[in-house]
Amino acid sequence: MPLDLILEQLLNGVQFSLMLFLLAAGLTLIFGVMDLINLAHGSLYMIGAYLTATFAPHVGFFPAVVLAILGTMLIGGLLEVTIIRRLYARTHLTQVLSTFALMLIANEVVRMIWGAQPIALSAPESLSQPVQLPGFKYSAYRLFIIAAGLGVGAGLYYLVNKTRVGMWLRAGASNREMTRAMGVKIGPLYTLIFALGAGLCALAGALLGPLLSVQVGMGENILILAFVVVVIGGIGSIKGAFIGSLLVGILDTAGRAFLPTWLTALFNPQLAGSFGPALASIAIYVLMAAVLFFKPRGLFPARGTG
């Protein structure tokens, strides 16, 4: 197998992983610190993409991304203050269904505002031409996404490990009582975390919008993947979310790219053609089941006991 193909697929996998990480990071924090299962997380991702697509024709792509992040953080903050905070003390079941309801509502509201058809969002002109890498050309825009993802990852690492807010976050994720004991005002902290998660979602939505599609319900499939990442990584752990994203992203890409070829080498093409896609699409769920089987709390559980 040619090396440049492997390299290109690896880049694809990493690019997908990093976007998944943006979603999973917010999800795992909200999960870990507030103990909230948030199915509406994917809706914030959708809103981020729609806002970017709305602003981009007027102010250009990059300013639009910034505006979309701010806008989505604002929406996320408002959502937290009005509805989400009523759910923290409720059962997970209530949370699942309430946020499921929010998801239905968000889909319809977006459809009312922007219509039922996908809307256009293109990569910025400056990144629309491919870049020559050793051995092959690669989409400049995907390279930009990788860089942005790594940058945000590093920023999050700094935020969580080196700042006071980060200390509260870690404390909250490992022991909820401790945050209270440290005298942190829980309300604003939670609003902040939720808004931060919304901002990360919006960034992912904005960056993936040009690659995927800005359409109603766009956040639902990727949300499930983000949940898989969070569970594999261990709830509440940013590091876990990062490693989990890489595992899931690269496995998914490799499965799609190489599995059919391998199967063709092993079996006849007919069989490979029908089993390849099936195996590739369930690979990550098999991974998750395997991880949970051996480590029922994920790879890097943030909370020791209980």
Binding site: I83, T91, I105, S274, M288
Partner: protein, 313 residues
């Protein structure tokens, strides 16, 4: 009155096709069949979720497993009894395997792993040729006797009514048996139940399998209503809808499945007539119920009264 309720409902169920016919609303007979079958699956989830306290987010897997098994069998020319038997059996087996894996975990991890396992099945169905891929499998309706098939609305309706009645009877017996007592005890206080000497997981697994089997039975009948089966039966949105029904109906109360299904499907049917934006209203109603009447439309829910607890040893 409370003792009479099941019989009144059954009488109403038996009479419904005649009432609808008299009103000139025959179309709603097949709608009613759908409500009955989905209610059976929702009631099965209520056994797991309401009585067992296990938040299974992958109930569609067992429903779909029953449906796909029946469709595959129908394709091979098997009759209704074989479809019902094998479909239920396969769903039970699947529930055993998935339940065994999932019950190693607790809380959110349980929710997520049940979801992931069901997703696995969904993608398997979508991408497997022998399961018809995205298109699913089409069947011809099973024969009952003579020329009568389940393609006949009334025949289908009474078959569904029979299945739901039997299913609810089974659930009633199970819930009130020694076994049901332990399952509910494990829901209310898992640690204490283990400390009383009950191997909790074993009971939860058996309960999970019973719920899965009944969902499978409902799945078999669903293929007969639709005339086909497709991956959306296995989707996580379908699982979410089952949960919605149980919650709206009042989780852990006996009639939750039937009430929730009737309300939700009725709402969909009604709102669908009035507005294209019906999911918005379903979402608002669900959110309202969750925030302000979390015990569901029935009023005797038990899961919500308590705060969630994390056992700190």
């Amino acid at each position: 009155m409370k003792r009479l309720l099941p019989f009144l409902l059954l009488a109403l169920g038996l009479a419904l096709p005649f009432i609808l016919t008299a009103m000139g609303q025959e179309y709603y007979i097949s709608f009613a069949s759908r409500v009955l079958v989905v209610a059976l699956a929702a009631s099965a989830l209520n056994l797991i979720l309401g009585y067992g306290g296990l938040v299974s987010f992958g109930h569609a897997a067992y429903f779909g497993a029953g449906a796909y098994t029946a469709a595959l069998l129908a394709g091979k020319g098997a009759g209704l009894p074989a479809q019902l038997l094998v479909g239920t059996g396969v769903a039970a087996l699947l529930a055993f395997v998935f339940g065994w894996a999932a019950l190693r975990t607790r809380g959110v991890y349980f929710i997520m792993i049940t979801l992931a396992l069901a997703q696995m099945l969904y993608y398997l169905a979508v991408s497997s040729d022998s399961l018809g891929g995205e298109d699913g499998l089409r069947i011809s309706r099973a024969a009952l006797w003579g020329d009568l098939t389940l393609g006949d609305d009334r025949a289908m309706y009474y078959t569904a009514l029979t299945a739901l009645t039997l299913g609810l009877f089974v659930i009633w017996r199970v819930v009130h048996s020694r076994f049901g007592e332990v399952v509910q005890a494990a829901r209310d206080n898992e640690t204490r139940t283990a400390a009383l000497g009950y191997p909790v997981r074993r009971y939860q697994l058996v309960n999970f399998v019973i719920g899965g089997a009944l969902a499978g039975l409902a799945g078999v009948l669903m293929t007969q209503i639709s005339g086909f089966t497709n991956p959306s039966l296995l989707s996580w949105q379908q699982s979410g809808q089952f949960m919605m029904m149980v919650i709206l109906g009042g989780v852990g109360t006996f009639w939750a499945g039937l009430l929730g299904t009737a309300v939700l499907l009725g709402l969909e049917e009604y709102l669908g007539e009035v507005t294209e934006r019906w999911p918005l209203f379903v979402g608002l109603i669900l959110l309202g119920v969750m925030l302000f009447a979390p015990k569901g439309l029935g009023s005797l829910g038990t899961l919500f009264g308590r705060k969630k607890k994390e056992v700190v040893e």
